[in-house]
């Protein structure tokens, strides 16, 4: 794997490899001494153009537990507003001799552009998309898949393809959600069925061509799903005219205490965080036995360790700088 830019680039076999390795990493995570020497001497830069606490610290821990040197650069605000082009910013950092760049940017497609600029310069720096605008967040989808796979395997240890045929509802602001886009791609690659539930104002144009079902009726969907992913409602959407009031949103699309009763017992509940308790998810749901929210956070580190290892570990990949951007 040269870069991790989109969940669309991963085949089922590659996903299984990443998740299997993440299981090994999770074992390390539970040990009192967590450090592995795997990426000693390798350097990872977390270049975050957008605020993030959990994703940045998750990548930071992942790198450090693999013994990579990790530095965090916060480049808040678009480079355009500072007068420096994005290309200059990333080439400057890459030219310091780093091995991987984890990029979060408020603009869709930015990590893909970064990877292309590196390729054009002959730089072998690996790029990981840590969330780009309203496009994708592939490591979030991987950690969600990891979390669900573990959950279903515990229930049904005999099945290896734990996600195949599972029905997963993704509920909330699909239009602006990179988590939703990556999850749709990854879950369908793994054979799961996806139901998107949202008011029509929060469904992306062209959703009819996606390999998913679409519903505006959460009550009708919940009794028939194997897992629920609730999405965060961004504060700026609340006054954007996408729905009349937060209260009305909760009545229509929130996972309230009442709705919790519509789920089959033990149905897992995911949320990428941070949660707006009382808006898209009630405290009862967030803290219920089915809630996997904290498992997701733990899985995040293991999955990112696995991804960094896949990109940087093992063979010396010097010279492999002109490979196709993928």
């Amino acid at each position: 794997m040269r870069h991790l830019l989109s969940a669309a680039d991963l085949e089922a076999g590659e996903v299984a490899e990443i998740l299997d390795l993440a299981e090994q990493m999770a074992l390390v995570q539970s040990r009192p001494v967590k450090k592995l020497p795997a990426l000693r001497g390798r350097t990872v830069v977390n270049l975050f153009f957008e605020d993030s606490t959990r994703t940045r610290s998750s990548f930071e821990l992942a790198g450090k537990w693999l013994s990579a040197d990790v530095i965090n650069i916060s480049a808040k605000g678009s480079s355009a507003s500072k007068g420096e082009s994005l290309r200059d910013t990333v080439l400057t950092v890459a030219s310091m001799g780093i091995d991987a760049m984890v990029v979060r940017h408020m603009a869709s497609g930015a990590p893909l552009q970064v990877a292309r600029w590196f390729a054009a310069q002959g730089l072998g720096v690996h790029v990981v998309n840590a969330g780009d605008g309203t496009h994708e967040h592939p490591t979030q989808a991987l950690l969600d898949a990891f979390t669900l796979r573990r959950h279903f395997r515990a229930q049904d240890p005999g099945r290896s393809d734990a996600l195949a045929g599972r029905r997963v509802a993704v509920v909330g602001d699909i239009t602006h959600s990179r988590v939703a886009r990556s999850n749709v791609l990854l879950l369908t690659t793994l054979g799961a069925e996806v139901v998107l539930v949202a008011p029509p104002t929060l469904l992306p144009s062209g959703v009819g061509t996606w390999p998913v079902e679409v519903s505006h009726d959460l009550d009708a969907v919940l009794p028939h799903v194997d897992a629920v992913m609730m999405l965060r409602v961004q504060r700026e959407r609340m006054s954007g005219g996408y729905f009349p009031t937060p209260r009305e949103y909760t009545v229509g699309y929130g996972l309230t205490r009442t709705r919790l009763g519509l789920l089959r017992p033990g149905t897992p509940i995911c949320h990428p965080g941070p949660m707006n308790r009382g808006l898209e998810i009630s405290a009862d749901a967030a803290d219920s036995a089915g809630s996997l929210v904290l498992d997701q956070v733990a899985a995040g580190v293991a999955v990112r360790m696995s991804v960094l290892y896949q990109l940087l570990g093992g063979q010396d990949d010097a010279g492999d700088t002109t490979g196709a951007v993928r």
């Binding site: 603009a107 869709s108 292309r116 992306p204 144009s205 061509t209």
Partner: protein, 431 residues
């Protein structure tokens, strides 16, 4: 520009197909076409057998960037690029810094072009002061100035306020002006909107620019043109929906004209899949159905003219994330190539049609008297010689523009322009 070979001497162009009307000879003398029979023995003879002669092209929609962004384009470089593309006149949009919203600004630009230009530069006046969309700019003073402004546009911004648009249309009627509208309802397609709204924008997570944001404004404006009896011109039509509105309006006899860019005749939203800001343009690249509708409209005259929307940008203004990068692409040097590829080769337009849609009609819309004229004795010698069969792979580094945001780089396209004369002066010759 240095004196060209042949400058001051008669030029005798022999055997070119005269705008699709069959072979003939042209004599260029003292800036005009003269009777070839009067040619002196020392006339420079140009063998033009197999070539097509067209009247010099006229671009209704050019951004020259001077004053303000001379790092991206100047009057000098932009008109050199124009001449290379076969153009002898360009209308220079008002969104410079300062904005062309006063008689002084218009005259300054016109004077600059007289000194440095390789083509006629006709200033477009802003509709509103500072392009702010609030108060009318001094339209009448620009019209009375030495620049003789007749085309007014806030291009880059839509005159979205219906009352301001109505007043602008009414007001310019006094001097036979035209309001050229950049149709983009800002409430439906805001500043971030950069991708045709549809399956692609949804998948890529790019802010959508829906077709209705264009067609809705055009539907309003053609009715304002009917109400006021004034001339409306619609810039860079990009959607099938707008074509339908234009067809309806023209059927009613409303005085509306429209242009399409070369890039909207060939490129589609699929170019955006790699998030390459080279393909970021406003209005955005649309679907292949839109491309087909635009070609049909240019064929049947629903769309009157080709306008390049030549929009040079310094490299660093394009090296941002897609949504942060500047809008626009180069167009002057490749416009005729794209029209040959999309319209002439498939048989939709003949050479006489190309001459109307790229020269005489745009000249008439802008009320230019010395451009877009027939290739006839006594007319200004504005001429482009075209090789219909030649092709080449476009190399952005071969451009005469100062900018490199060329969406055609690496594409195999016709390479038709052999030579251009503006008022008898050779402004481009292929080496």
């Amino acid at each position: 520009m240095t004196q060209d070979e042949g400058q001051g001497r008669d030029v005798l162009v022999l055997g070119a197909d005269l705008a699709g009307g069959g072979p003939g000879d042209l004599l260029i003398r003292d800036g005009r076409f003269s009777d070839p029979g009067d040619a002196h023995g020392d006339a420079l003879r140009v063998d033009a057998q197999g070539l097509v002669a067209l009247p010099g092209l006229v671009d209704l929609h050019t951004h020259l960037r001077e004053p303000g962004r001379e790092d991206a384009e100047t009057v000098e470089s932009g008109t050199l690029a124009a001449a290379r593309g076969g153009y002898t006149a360009v209308l220079a949009m008002a969104n410079t810094n300062p904005v062309t919203d006063t008689a002084d600004a218009a005259e300054h630009l016109a004077a600059l072009a007289t000194r440095l230009g390789s083509a006629e530069v006709v200033p477009v006046g802003a509709v509103s002061k500072g392009l702010a969309g609030e108060e009318l700019a001094e339209l009448g003073l620009m019209a009375r100035s030495a620049a003789r402004t007749r085309v007014f546009s806030d291009d880059g911004h839509c005159v979205s306020d219906a009352r301001l648009m109505r007043r602008a249309l009414e007001y310019v009627r006094a001097f036979d002006g035209v309001v050229a509208q950049h149709a983009q309802d800002p409430r439906l397609a805001g500043r971030d909107a950069c991708c045709d709204e549809g399956e692609t924008s949804g998948r890529l997570g790019l802010p959508g620019w829906p077709a209705v944001a264009e067609a809705g404004i055009v539907a309003r404006d053609v009715q304002l043109a009917e109400l006021t009896g004034s001339r409306l011109h619609v810039c860079h039509v990009s959607t099938a929906e707008t074509v339908d509105v234009l067809r309806w309006a023209k059927g009613r006899g409303i005085p509306v004209t429209a242009e399409v860019t070369p890039h909207h005749l060939l490129l589609t939203v699929d170019e955006l899949l790699g998030y390459d800001p080279t393909y970021k343009v406003n209005p955005p690249l649309r679907s292949s159905e839109d491309v087909a509708a635009l070609r049909d409209a240019l064929t049947d005259g629903t769309i009157d003219a080709v306008g390049t929307d030549h929009a040079p940008h310094a490299r660093h203004d394009k090296e941002h994330a897609f949504v942060d990068a500047a809008f626009g692409m180069l167009g002057l040097e490749t416009a005729l190539a794209v029209v040959v590829e999309t319209m002439v080769r498939p048989g939709s337009l003949g050479w006489a049609d190309v001459a109307t849609r790229m020269s005489s009609v745009p000249a008439h819309i802008a009320r230019l008297t010395g451009q877009g004229r027939p290739l006839a004795v006594g007319e200004p010698a504005n001429l482009v010689l075209v090789d219909p069969g030649r092709r080449a792979v476009v190399d952005r580094d071969g451009s005469l523009s100062l900018s490199r945001n060329n969406p055609w780089h690496g594409r195999d396209l016709p390479d038709p322009v052999v030579a251009t004369w503006w008022r008898g002066r050779r402004t481009f010759a292929r080496s």
